[in-house]
Structure formats: C-alpha cells, structure tokens
Point group: C2
Chain length 113, copies 2
DNA sequence: CAGGATCCATATGGATACTG
DNA sequence: CAGTATCCATATGGATCCTG
C-alpha cells in the first residue's frame, strides 16, 4: 500500500496512536487478542490497574467498536470482553509492534533502567 | 516471527507505545521519515506544538537514540534533526500503523466528531 | 463479580516571555 | 534560528470506599 498524501498519513498516525496509545489501551487489546476475558481477569493480568481506570478504558474501546461487552450470565453477573471484528484486525498491528520492539529493544529500551 | 512469551510480548507493546505514543512523538517520527528537518520546520508542520514541548520531545527521542541532532552551521546556528539507523526502522512500523488506520478509519474514527 | 463515586497525584503539554 | 525558563491548565490514571 502507498500513502498518497503524506500529511494525511501523519494525521492517521496520530489518530491510531490515540486509539492504541496511552498507558493501558495497547495492553488491553494485546491481552484480548488471545481470547475473551472477564473484567477481573483483565484487572489481574494488568496488575496495577484500578477498577475505575479499567472501566474507563474498556468503555472507550467499546465506544470506538474495538471491544465488545457481553453478558455471559446474570446472577451472579459475568461479563466477557472480546475484540470485535475490527478489534481482531489490530492483532497484525500488534505483531508488528512487538516485532519492532524485539529488534530494537537493546538500543532503545536499555537506557530505561 | 513468533512471540514466545505472551506476557513478555505485551510488555514490549507497552514499551513501544511508550516510545511512539503520546501526542507528538509519533508525528515527529513520521515527519522525520521523509527527510531531516530543522527545529522550526518541525514546529511549523506540527502546527500547534510549542517550542518547549518540541524541545522536550526531541530530547527524549535523542535520549533513546531514535533521533540525531546535527549542527549544520554555526552562525547563525542551524540544527538538523534526522532519524538514526534505529529511527529509520520505525518507518516500517509507521507504514503498518497508517495501513491499519486507513482500513479501519470508517468504523473507528467516524464517531470522533 | 463487575463496576460506580469521589477525591487526589502526577504527567503531559501549553502560554508567554526571553536569549545567544 | 533554536532554543530556555517559568508558570499554568488539563488529562490521565490512581486510591479508596461502596454496591447490586
């Protein structure tokens, strides 16, 4: 694929990074790539996230149709979060991100600590 | 490529998004993909960024060896910012980001306004 | 279990003015 | 031209407590 308009391409970069960027969004999407997860499952794997933050991030991802919220059971209530079809498409992008990170982690991440 | 350790892969995602995420970093890198640019050139294309913010972002990108600062001329001073070799490697990733953004912009960006 | 509510800390970026 | 310095606004995420 080629990007016709350079400036537009950069705007798209900004838009996408807006979606996948931030402290948690990318991680949440990455976790949901594998399989659907419940609220507290996500809360556990994300380790340091709080309920309210996780809720906010999930709502955002639902709003932009990346993630789907499904009520699995009513009492006690069980919710399952999974990627939508568009959400699934992010898998490829995440793979690319990880690939780049693996190739360049030495030069780029070393200094972090 | 395959990612052996899933959890580690997600950590890498977080690390990479830390680099390329944020409001300006991705855009700066995208702009520098084309060719080196001077401080005020970047300031112009980035439109709403302030000097101090641009300085901060550039320093960060220099620190992680993504961007190189070159003094082109001494008086009046002229500085040129360009991608390092690792920096150049980000081009592929940015292309993937733009590709994804183009494919999914309708479903994902529509609601933004 | 899956959040909502409230209040709080910090990070991020911005406005404005100034400099060699 | 390429920044620095100060001070400031807001966004982001967190802590804690509470609930159906």
């Amino acid at each position: 694929m080629e990007i016709k308009n350079k400036q537009q391409g950069i705007m798209i970069v900004a838009d996408v990074l807006d979606i996948v960027g931030g402290k948690w969004r990318g991680q949440i999407l990455a976790h949901l790539c594998d399989d659907p997860k419940r609220f507290n499952e996500l809360k556990t794997v994300l380790n340091k996230i709080t309920s309210s933050t996780l809720t906010k991030e999930l709502r955002y991802l639902e709003d932009i149709k990346m993630v789907e919220r499904k009520i699995i059971q009513d009492k006690p209530i069980v919710i399952e979060y999974k990627l939508t079809d568009h959400g699934m498409s992010i898998k490829d992008l995440i793979v690319h991100i990880v690939e780049w990170g693996q190739k360049h982690r030495d030069s780029v991440f070393k200094k972090d600590e």
